[in-house]
């Protein structure tokens, strides 16, 4: 019963964070492309899928990261103290240091991508995790 309640909380928080991240992430990306097109020239690169066959997977990312972070939050939420915003920021930083930095490191070392690209992905992930952390702190404190 306790496990079912926990799962329910994790799923509901993940779903809500997923919806919010979906709007913010892709809305932000759309606006960034409109206002700073030069930052995105490097994506004209054969490394990136270009036939549209993975578009669905691309847009599901907001939900994948939200469910993963929701589970992580539920396990370690007691370690994040203070108001929702501070808990969210700390959660975002923890996620970035543990998960993003090593992945960005190996990506830059192995793939033909630019420093600007890697830094933008790091900031993008940090913001996503911070927003998700604030949402979790309010829904599943």
């Amino acid at each position: 019963m306790h496990l079912a309640d926990t799962m329910k909380k994790v799923i509901i928080a993940g779903l809500m964070a997923g919806c919010i991240l979906f709007v913010l992430s892709y809305g932000g990306l759309f606006l960034a492309i409109q206002f700073f097109p030069k930052l995105f020239l490097a994506y004209n690169n054969p490394l990136f899928n270009s036939d549209g066959s993975r578009d669905l997977l691309f847009y599901l990312h907001a939900f994948i990261i939200s469910f993963a972070l929701s589970w992580f939050w539920d396990r370690f939420k007691s370690l994040f103290k203070g108001p929702s915003l501070i808990r969210g920021i700390e959660f975002g930083l923890v996620y970035s240091i543990i998960a993003l930095v090593p992945v960005m490191w190996i990506s830059f070392s192995a793939l033909d991508i630019t420093v600007a690209m890697v830094v933008s992905w790091l900031i993008y992930g940090l913001l996503q995790a911070t927003v998700a952390g604030v949402v979790f702190a309010r829904i599943n404190p």
Partner: protein
């Protein structure tokens, strides 16, 4: 059963007549005044396109070798037969940016179809090579990524250096004409437009 001389001659005449008929059936349209055009290695081709964030221009700066086109009048017609083929290496495209160059080659599936094939079919009239500049149209078949499509090209013919002539052509084509998907990145947020503008310049030496 001895055949007379006149019977033999008649048979020979019939055979010649039959041969002439067959030849004229095989090559019905060519008049006598055929000309040979040598396409020189400094001919070039440019493809201009755009995405929703930038424009790009990819060139094959130099054809690199010579090819021959045969120009011949068509009986009872203004039109002129122009026969010959040109093959361009997709890997010769240069988009002035290594990533874009590789992206274009991938889009054109150069691993499977390494050549851009142009087959010349006809011209709307016999070109006046003595004029400084003249305009004409012509049919070509363009083969790309395993698909062949026929286009009517608007040409300009100019006098070039050293008695050569330059045949300039432009044509709007689309990726979708050749069953190719214009590249789209980041879930379609960065999109290449379907339309491409192709300009080419053939440096030609006419051989009578």
């Amino acid at each position: 059963m001895i055949k007379t001389v006149s019977e033999m001659s008649l048979k020979k005449v019939n055979l010649y007549f039959l041969f002439a008929m067959l030849m004229s059936a095989g090559m019905p349209a060519f008049a006598q005044s055929a000309k040979t055009w040598i396409v020189n290695g400094n001919s070039n081709l440019r493809v201009n396109g755009s995405t929703n964030i930038n424009k790009f221009s990819c060139v094959i700066p130099s054809y690199g070798h010579t090819d021959t086109l045969i120009l011949a009048g068509v009986k009872n017609s203004m039109a002129v037969s122009l026969s010959g083929d040109i093959d361009l290496q997709i890997k010769s495209f240069d988009c002035h940016n290594s990533l874009m160059t590789r992206d274009l080659r991938k889009t054109l599936r150069d691993d499977q179809f390494p050549l851009l094939h142009i087959r010349f079919i006809s011209l709307s009239k016999m070109p006046d090579v003595t004029a400084q500049e003249s305009e004409l149209t012509g049919l070509v078949d363009i083969g790309l990524a395993g698909v062949q499509k026929r286009f009517t090209i608007a040409y300009r013919l100019q006098k070039g250096a050293g008695g050569n002539i330059r045949l300039l052509g432009s044509q709007q084509i689309r990726f979708s004409d050749f069953n190719l998907i214009p590249p789209r990145k980041l879930g379609g947020m960065i999109r290449t437009n379907d339309t491409l503008y192709v300009d080419f310049c053939l440096d030609i030496t006419q051989v009578e």
